[in-house]
């Protein structure tokens, strides 16, 4: 189609090439020498901002018992869940948010973490420290094995592979592995378990087997404080990973994996380490579930649990630091508080309205609360995905930008 064109080009270029350099220098709008602008070495992420974010996050987490009061969510069991699933989502985000690899099987590592922790309570000690270390390590080993195979594929095939492995773990826990998992009954800590480490320092026999941190029983608020400390450590590590060259390479893989190979990176080890780290986060979350309630069941590994962490991450904002935690809190709040709202609570809420209007308002709203909480969550999820593809964290950022004004094209994460 461009045969004639090219020939013309070929001929005209003869003249053009000779006149090119002279022609070039007469063009005033092309600077021959760029202005002597020295490299600007201001940090990409001002350390102050990161410290401020960590401190604010810490204040928000540790003051949960106060600010959750008006929402009716300031009881230890629920706050523990906020922290634990926050860790799960923050870890999941290291894989999904940074590399773009969508795992549908991360609940497997949560379950493995729980089983490992309960076994540690049974065989080693009721102390939480060995339980947490053991769970994180074992979850890491499983993540390495599953990740090694699954990461040979990308996109939907990767997702399907992880889903298959997780369902395999779930079904094995109910069948072949019953000696380890105790099947449907679930694995529990017994009064007369061996507990070799406890036996060394004293008696391994306890009246009520409860996880403890050097004598402090991990029930109620103490359990929440333990989870909150773990959440802070998990958040800080995630922050460091995001700000590291490794984190930048992960985002490079998400952005253009082909290019990563052509600039000289072997991308597989990067994705595998991201997979292992996020598996270890899930293991930590699983261990904490066992810490606050020393019982492990296979239902934790079901595919719905894997799907839940995907929802949390996307709802809050994949690839952001705070988003996954926000998503986890929101979903757990809906699941536990919103689902308990009944007809009477609604009538109370609308009591300021005249009788007839109140009945009407209640009948409109009631399908969305109580047992219908999934409907509200679904609507919220759809709205976020359509209008805020960056999740709620992007929404907050937009609001922040509106207040500060301008500065649109500059990016920050």
């Amino acid at each position: 189609m461009d045969t004639t064109n090219t020939t013309a080009d070929l001929k005209s270029a003869t003249m053009d090439a000779d006149t090119h350099s002279a022609h070039y220098h007469t063009k005033s709008e092309v600077p021959t020498q760029l202005p002597p602008l020295g490299p600007d070495m201001r940090p990409l992420w001002p350390p102050k901002v990161d410290i401020l974010m960590t401190v604010l996050f810490g204040i928000a987490v540790f003051s949960m018992p106060i600010w959750l009061q008006p929402f009716g969510a300031a009881y230890p069991d629920l706050m523990q869940r906020f922290a634990i699933f926050g860790i799960f989502a923050i870890g999941f985000n290291i894989l999904f948010g940074l590399t773009g690899y969508l795992s549908f099987g991360h609940a497997a590592f949560l379950g493995i973490g729980s089983y490992a922790a309960v076994w540690s309570f049974k065989l080693l000690s009721l102390n939480v420290v060995p339980a947490i270390i053991l769970s994180v390590l074992i979850a890491g080993v499983f993540a390495a094995a599953i990740g090694y195979v699954s990461l040979r594929r990308s996109g939907i095939y990767f997702s399907i592979l992880t889903l298959a492995f997780a369902q395999m773990c779930y079904n094995l826990a109910y069948s072949v592995l019953t000696p380890i998992t105790n099947g449907e009954t679930g694995l529990r800590v017994l009064r007369n378990d061996p507990r070799v480490l406890d036996a060394l320092v004293g008696s391994s026999e306890v009246a009520i087997p409860r996880a403890s941190f050097f004598g402090i029983s991990m029930t109620g608020m103490a359990g929440f404080w333990a989870c909150a400390v773990c959440l802070m450590i998990a958040f800080y590590i995630a922050l460091r990973i995001t700000r590291s060259p490794f984190g930048m390479m992960l985002r490079g893989i998400k952005s253009n994996q082909t290019r990563m190979a052509y600039v000289g990176f072997n991308t597989r080890p990067y994705t595998l380490v991201a997979f292992i780290v996020s598996g270890m986060y899930a293991g930590l979350a699983g261990a904490l579930l066992a810490v606050v309630d020393p019982l492990a069941g296979a239902e934790r590994m079901q595919w719905t649990a894997s799907g839940e962490v995907v929802l949390m991450t996307i709802l809050g904002g994949a690839g952001t630091l705070l988003g996954p935690f926000i998503g986890a809190v929101l979903i757990k709040y809906f699941e536990n508080i919103f689902s308990a709202l009944g007809h009477t609570t609604l009538s109370d809420a609308f009591s300021f309205l005249p009788d007839g209007v109140r009945e009407f308002a209640v009948s409109i709203v009631s399908p969305f609360v109580g047992e219908g909480w999934h409907l509200t969550l679904g609507v919220l999820f759809v709205l976020v995905v359509i209008f805020l593809p960056g999740g709620l964290a992007e929404g907050f950022r937009r609001i922040g930008r509106m207040f500060r004004g301008g500065n649109k094209s500059e990016t920050s994460s």
């Binding site: 045969t3 760029l34 290019r259 990563m260 000289g264």
Partner: protein, 253 residues
């Protein structure tokens, strides 16, 4: 190895479903020279580059880079040996900032194909950052260094991709139509940049449709038509060759 050839494409053949894309390609790229490959659409120019960077495995023959056979190596291994490539459609990291786009290849050059530095800070590596800033300054993109690469114009994207290659100081730079879709002004700017690299002694292979670019830059020109090299020589020799005129007129369709 004969002479001072950096790259030797030795008797390479490639068929695609019975269609001969490359046949008996034998090509020597001399050190420090700019070697242009021209030819009508579908002549096999891009396929040839794909064979060089490990994207496509040849059916027969081999590619030798600095005395080492690189056919069968993975793309990242070939890059680590010192071959960088600018693609026909810009292959950049659209979600990263320009600075990060250039820092990533600089890291690959410094640390090799794998370095799992999870807890070190990106901001601590001042040398990598400074190098990336200098290349962006050199290519006139410094003002936009904190912008997302997706926001760039097509011409700027190509220049960014060139920056990503230059930051690695490759011994061989492969350019697949580096000025396609650029305005005359941007084209001249790119020519100027490429001339400057030449002064630093970097070997380049350039595929180009724009004869203005070819004759401004090339020391040697190979003409490819229907998967064969039909002519080779200095720009003046090639221009005078009747076979070249014929290939452009009658070879394409």
């Amino acid at each position: 190895m004969k002479g001072n050839a950096v790259l030797h494409v030795a008797d390479v053949q490639k068929n695609f479903a019975g269609l001969r894309a490359l046949s008996d390609i034998d090509l020597m790229i001399e050190e420090g020279k700019t070697h242009a490959i021209i030819g009508p659409n579908g002549a096999g120019k891009s396929t040839l580059l794909n064979v060089c960077v490990g994207r496509i495995a040849p059916d027969e023959g081999a590619v030798v880079f600095k005395g080492q056979v690189i056919t069968g190596k993975k793309p990242h291994e070939i890059n680590q040996l010192g071959i960088a490539r600018v693609f026909q459609t810009p292959e950049i990291f659209p979600d990263l900032t320009l600075l990060q786009n250039v820092m990533a290849p600089a890291y690959a050059r410094r640390d090799g194909p794998i370095r799992l530095n999870l807890l070190s800070a990106l901001d601590a590596d001042k040398d990598v950052r400074a190098e990336a800033e200098h290349v962006l300054l050199d290519l006139g993109l410094i003002e936009k260094r904190h912008h997302e690469a997706a926001s760039l114009s097509r011409g700027d994207k190509r220049r960014l991709e060139l920056a990503m290659c230059l930051v690695q100081h490759p011994s061989l730079l492969l350019l697949d139509e580096p000025t396609a879709g650029m305005s005359r002004l941007d084209t001249n700017r790119t020519i100027d940049i490429l001339k400057r690299i030449k002064e630093r002694g970097m070997t380049k292979v350039i595929i180009e449709h724009d004869m203005h670019v070819v004759f401004s830059l090339a020391d040697k020109v190979s003409v490819l038509a229907q998967g064969r090299i039909i002519a080779e020589g200095t720009p003046d020799e090639v221009r005078a060759d009747p076979r070249v005129q014929e290939a452009y007129l009658g070879g394409a369709h």
